[in-house]
């Protein structure tokens, strides 16, 4: 993150870095491992871990003495989701959308260079599916991320396009110029399509949701097998259902009429 640490409290910053290290590293880490990873003294790390442990934010394995994230983290994560306005408002709409199209629905928000999935409704059949809430995907391989990015001001869009664009499949768009043109088209069409750009065989169609200031706050999309979601280009029925849902959700979030109106016209011309 940025450099203005001077106005922040160093120990809180370090404690947060320990939590993030535990979240992204191996499931359990020892004091020395963490100290080395974070470039801190062992005694400092030990003291921070003991403090975090008292708050149940980390816990120590009795046998190995190694540390992992504590149960309180789940409470905090759940609280984040519970207080997330877009997620809260999308619960019913997402269910309705999933039933209408017979596919899974995901709600996501841009967080840095990734899309954080804040809500996921399973495809309404009896197949085994894994909950993706809390997962994050690179923004450019997700219809949720692309449609959110397309609605951002130019400078933020340029920042996204200027960063790393990892290739996840043979279909991932990794050329920033191609992606920039795609975002323009998405902005005009009012929806984004992702066709096997993240996972082979899977596709997604998404539309952005706007708040009372007319700013994009996230996106809602239908995800499923490419042969149903993008049989020959985006499924018109799914595009219509997704745009309809995004428009209603935006209205609920207090979005100005221009966004709702712009999203209402179902256009299916963007590849």
């Amino acid at each position: 993150m940025g450099d203005p640490r001077r106005s922040t409290i160093q120990s809180v910053d370090r404690a947060a870095r320990i939590l993030k290290a535990l979240a992204t590293g191996p499931p359990r880490s020892g004091v020395s491992e963490l100290a080395e990873r974070l470039g801190l003294a062992k005694t400092t790390v030990h003291g921070l871990l003991r403090t975090l442990e008292r708050q149940d934010l980390v816990e120590q394995d009795a046998e190995t003495g190694k540390y992992r994230l504590g149960p309180e983290m789940l409470e905090l994560g759940n609280a984040f989701l519970d207080h997330h306005e877009l997620r809260g408002r999308s619960l019913l709409w997402a269910d309705t959308l999933a039933n209408r199209v017979g596919e899974a629905v995901r709600v996501g928000v841009l967080h840095g260079r990734r899309v954080l999935i804040v809500h996921h409704v399973f495809r309404p059949d009896d197949s085994v599916q894994i909950l993706e809430v809390g997962a994050s995907v690179p923004w450019h391989v997700s219809a949720l991320g692309k449609v959110h990015a397309a609605a951002l001001p130019n400078d933020r869009r340029r920042t996204l396009l200027a960063g790393a664009l990892p290739q996840l499949t043979g279909r991932t768009i990794i050329d920033p110029h191609v992606l920039a043109v795609a975002l323009e088209e998405i902005g005009v069409a009012g929806f984004a399509t992702e066709d096997q750009e993240a996972v082979i065989g899977e596709a997604e169609i998404a539309a952005a949701v706007f708040d009372h200031r007319g700013h994009p706050v996230g996106a809602i999309g239908v995800a499923g097998p490419a042969e149903r979601v993008t049989p020959a280009g985006p499924s018109e029925a799914i595009v219509a259902a997704v745009q309809d849902t995004a428009r209603r959700l935006s209205w609920e979030m207090g979005a100005p009429r221009r966004h709702a109106v712009a999203a209402r016209r179902p256009r299916v011309d963007a590849g």
Partner: protein, 218 residues
Amino acid sequence: MSANQRIRGASAPCDAAFVTRWLRGCAAQIAAHRDYLTQLDAAVGDADHGVNLDRGFVAVGSVLEAADGLPPGELLVQAGSTLVLRVGGAAGPLYGTAFREAGRCLGTARTFGVAHLTEALEAALQGVTALGAAVEGDKTMVDAWLPAIRALRDQAGAALPDALHAATVAAEAGAAATTAMEARKGRASYLGPRSVGHQDPGATSTALLFLALERAAG
């Protein structure tokens, strides 16, 4: 069998019966390891790898029933198309493409030897990487395919069973090595570093297909 056929058979030991044994062996291996594959997939994917592949290879079995007299390449193409249709997920397109490309490489040949088989498996891998853009070390099926093909190339000139045994050993070692890798492709890549410590289901099923290939050679 005529003397001529016997001589040609010595240098070109593979035929439609061999390919049929391979595909049936694939079905048997996948069925036997269905729950194990699904378990592996539950850790890094969506817990459907074993079930989906099993459904696909059962369908391949029915296709084989009706495919009497076809050249080996055509059998593989039909098996591939069946897998694309019936497996779903990422494994369907990937394995479907692999078998189809291998079949196309064999063309209309009635028999073929180790060299042509190696070429066909290379074509299969090329199909897989064109779809998935995965390279070695990404924690995907490529990590089992590539070592197997390298082993086959090293065994050029060896007898079929020896060459295929070396390929199986290499594929199994490659699959085992994915445990320590961080996934950079596919759904498992969503997990980032948390994917470390789990063996990749795709690499594992690829190793099973090479084991079936080795067994088909007797």
